[in-house]
């Protein structure tokens, strides 16, 4: 079987675009894991809620950029409230309990969305409708824009982590929660803040993804799973690794969809996850544990 080169190149562009959105979702997840050892099972549902918040705002205002901003802020505040009420009491308990609690949250959020917005998908109108010629395809500029925006958000967050007081607080808390609190860093609030940032990043991906795949109440599980796979393959808590892994996995899925149906292409990332867990359980990109 031979596949034309132009198809492979188109799938490469697709893979990169999807990879950047996935990287944005996974960054939040890996950050939350890195700082509080919580795998947020409801992370994909925050993507979904962000998407719906964006869709509602667009319906009211017609402005995509305003919708992006509103969704990020609303979901960040919501995430902060969620963390403070359900995860903060669980700090230091069996990791099993945080898995269960976030699973419960995920269930509630998904059914809430179903109740509020119904079962059908909502498309978000893209802010940019131009297209350019990519081989035999008219390729939308908006897809390229999402990749650039995702990269910009991740980059902005990276700068925030590297410079300034709050970045130091977050990194110190990640490395040694107890010492950080003994140095006067308000660790419970750092946790809440980081959860809010992660939620905000998830919301941004939801809005950016809206024009591409639509927003549905049950999209959360898929995002959670894929983001988790990325985070494991990239190394838990490793931001850079997650970005590489997101792109790697999205590229593999894009290439696989040349051969099998998209539903089956997902299995590729599952296989990557299982192989990673078996042979490099600390992830592909982790040099040594901290």
């Amino acid at each position: 079987m031979s596949i034309p080169l132009d198809q492979i190149l188109i799938q490469t562009v697709n893979g990169l675009v999807n990879g950047m959105i996935l990287a944005l979702v996974a960054s939040g997840l890996t950050l939350i894991f890195g700082i509080m050892d919580v795998v947020n099972f409801a992370h994909g549902d925050l993507v979904m809620l962000g998407g719906f918040t964006g869709a509602v705002t667009i319906a009211a205002t017609g402005n995509f950029w305003l919708a992006l901003l509103v969704a990020v802020l609303v979901i960040a505040v919501f995430g902060a409230a969620l963390q403070a009420t359900t995860l903060r009491p669980l700090l230091g308990r069996d990791p099993l309990t945080t898995i269960l609690a976030t699973f419960g949250i995920s269930l509630v959020l998904q059914k809430y969305a179903l109740w509020q917005w119904g079962p059908s998908a909502r498309r978000i109108q893209e802010p940019l409708t131009g297209q350019f010629q990519l081989f035999y395809l008219q390729y939308p500029w908006y897809r390229v824009l999402t990749a650039v925006l995702s990269a910009a958000i991740i980059g902005g967050f990276w700068l925030f982590l590297r410079h300034g007081k709050y970045g130091i607080w977050i990194r110190a808390t990640m490395q040694d929660r107890i010492m950080a609190s003994a140095m006067g860093i308000p660790v419970p609030w750092v946790h809440t803040g980081v959860f809010a940032i992660g939620a905000g990043m998830a919301a941004a991906s939801g809005v950016l993804f809206g024009p591409l795949g639509g927003v549905t109440q049950n999209m959360g599980l898929d995002f959670t799973l894929r983001a988790f796979i990325v985070v494991v393959v990239g190394g838990m808590g490793n931001l850079g690794g997650s970005i590489f892994a997101a792109i790697l996995i999205s590229l593999l899925e894009a290439y696989a969809s040349l051969v099998v149906s998209p539903a089956q292409a997902v299995i590729v990332s599952f296989v990557v996850l299982i192989l990673t867990l078996l042979f490099r359980p600390t992830g592909l990109f982790v040099p040594t544990p901290k």
């Binding site: 007081k165 110190a172 490395q175 107890i178 010492m179 950080a180 609190s181 006067g184 308000p186």
Partner: protein, 235 residues
């Protein structure tokens, strides 16, 4: 200033502190001696709010602080230099110091002053300010741990085995810095295995055994009383 009355602490099911009482006055250096595993480090962690006592009172400047979050205690004037130093290994030396500097009510001038002071005492930290904390040697990490605590401008430092595993030259430096903090009227609760050093720098000394304070004397008295030292510490 700091008073512990009948403090009990558990780790899971094991009872570590069985009613510890001790006291530190402002500006005083107090030694806490005892063999390994008698609860010295746990006493410091309990004071710092890292372990919650199950009974008794911990009072700081007349206020009950048992159960208060550690970060509030850090702002109230307590600083902790743990046994294993716990440098933020991936943060630079400067960033390590900033964890204690970036707190409410700090002025730029005051920051400068504090930094200049520790850099004067520990010139090596000034040299390595952009280097990751994890790349420092053991002795340098100990310096950094103490310097980092000083950034909080504490009223009392809980100093846990600062000379453990250090070369003799470094031990001398630690002794100097304790003396210096003493002159600055910073109180110190010093946990040590190094008996001569402790007797040398302390005003008073408590000796712990199996979760309890068994003996209490001034350092001068203990220097003359080898029997007690031998009985509790075997040296």
């Amino acid at each position: 200033m700091l008073t512990l009355t009948e403090v009990h602490t558990y780790y899971g099911k094991s009872h570590i502190l069985l009613g510890v009482s001790l006291e530190v006055q402002p500006g005083e250096v107090v030694g806490l001696l005892g063999r390994n595993g008698v609860g010295k480090s746990t006493t410091l962690k309990t004071i710092m709010g890292l372990v919650r006592p199950s009974g008794g009172h911990v009072r700081f400047e007349g206020r009950e602080i048992a159960g208060t979050a550690p970060h509030r205690l850090a702002h109230a004037g307590l600083a902790w230099v743990p046994e294993d130093r716990r440098i933020f290994r991936l943060l630079t030396v400067m960033e390590n110091l900033r964890t204690g500097l970036d707190r409410p009510g700090m002025t730029e001038a005051r920051r400068r002053e504090l930094l200049d002071k520790v850099y004067a005492h520990f010139p090596v930290l000034a040299e390595r300010r952009s280097q990751a904390g994890g790349t420092l040697s053991g002795g340098e990490q100990q310096m950094l741990a103490i310097a980092r605590a000083m950034m909080l401008e504490p009223k009392i430092i809980l100093l846990d085995e600062p000379t453990e595993g250090l070369m003799p030259r470094m031990v001398g430096q630690i002794r100097e810095i304790i003396t210096l903090l003493h002159q600055d009227r910073v109180a110190i609760l010093l946990v040590e295995q190094n008996v001569p050093l402790t007797l040398d720098v302390s005003d008073r000394v408590y000796i712990m055994e199996k979760g309890l304070v068994r003996h209490h004397a001034t350092a001068a008295e203990l220097r003359a009383d080898h029997a007690v030292i031998h009985q509790y510490l075997g040296v």
